[in-house]
Symmetry: C2
Subunit: 224 residues, 2 copies
Amino acid sequence: MPDAADPASMNARRKFRREGEERRRQDLIDATLDSVAEHGLEGATLRTIALRAGVTAGLIRHYFPGKEDLLQEAYAALMGRMTEQAKAALAMEDASPRQRLAAFVTANLDAPIIDQRVFSLWATFIGRAGADPTLARAHREGYLGFRNEVEAVVAEVLAAERRKPDAAELRHHAIAINAIIDGLWIEGCLAGEMFSPGELAAIGIKAVEAELGLAPLELKGGNQ
Amino acid sequence: MPDAADPASMNARRKFRREGEERRRQDLIDATLDSVAEHGLEGATLRTIALRAGVTAGLIRHYFPGKEDLLQEAYAALMGRMTEQAKAALAMEDASPRQRLAAFVTANLDAPIIDQRVFSLWATFIGRAGADPTLARAHREGYLGFRNEVEAVVAEVLAAERRKPDAAELRHHAIAINAIIDGLWIEGCLAGEMFSPGELAAIGIKAVEAELGLAPLELKGGNQ
DNA sequence: GGCGTTGTTGTGCAAGTGTATAAATAGCCT
DNA sequence: AGGCTATTTATACACTTGCACAACAACGCC
């Protein structure tokens, strides 16, 4: 049967609903991140993004001046979510510095931070940091913010141990711990099924405590 | 003066030289890596690549079935060079295991391994590992090979200290050390000017030796 | 030197890209 | 209910992309 048999299907303009501006922008940004994660920057076309967001391509221009702006806002949104989640783990007020550091490491090495999709997005965007100064600065700020958080907790941990590290020592610890977390994060994202649940976090905590020269905790199950 | 005044410029076909097959393929691969590093996967078009290689776009089809194959070979070449350089540092025959481990860490955290261009390439390609099984497998193999190398050296280092780690312990050490190197590598590539020369390597060696529980070496300059 | 092979160029093409803009309609105000 | 306006669709357009192919010329061989 030809389509012409159905009068409703002829020249039928697509039905649509008007969403609030904030909601639409958020949907478009999410659709952009999905597209980039799945097809890379090259495959994230306006039509692909629009399809995923359930709208037509022309609408994007109504909310964003151009594709570049959309990508920029999408990257900013991604970074915002990542750092927000990471820092949230440090918020525990009623815990010893050492416990907070361990919680921080664990939070960064378990779901939902260990996530292949997020990693793909991070890698895709960061790969352009060398050529795009805007991206480079955004990364630098996020990195330094993260490292400063680490440095602050390290200072508390060592203070609780009655040790008085100088600034250089503190900085080196923060750099090393940051590297441990980043490195394990990558390993987990890229080959998550090679590690049992919690294994990466355990490795991370042990490595961080070794870096800080903390004596192993006495566990009730005995020590080695 | 119109161009027509110069007979040589009318219908002047471009001069060219015939290069050997291997040479041309290598040039095209290098041009591809350059293009990807500079403009990302999206900006690495056949015409851009050809321009950089000093040929015209049509020639690429003579050496590669399609663009995808060219990218694949370029990625393989990149990985090959990276792992080759990394492993070379382990080849020192007449050195103690601990020295070889330190040399390995240093080799991975100084030029030419610390390089923004290489990092951009790595990130750009690895970002697609989640969607491209071929890339994912290539990475996995490279990663496991690297980690096995680390594990072997670690075993030697610990054996020299008369320690007998079990397999799980060894594996964990290798994972952690791999993470330390990767993490510091990223920090160095993305913000190299924030670190003084050799600083990252020093941080890396200290972190790795802490992870393995090695007593600090007695230096002639005194110890802290 | 002439000739054949084939590496190399140049052109063409269909598909897809981002952007511009006109036409339509959903939802609110009165 | 009826009109207003901003959101949304749909179409058009200039441009780029990867790929196909025919013409050409550099180089080895006789």
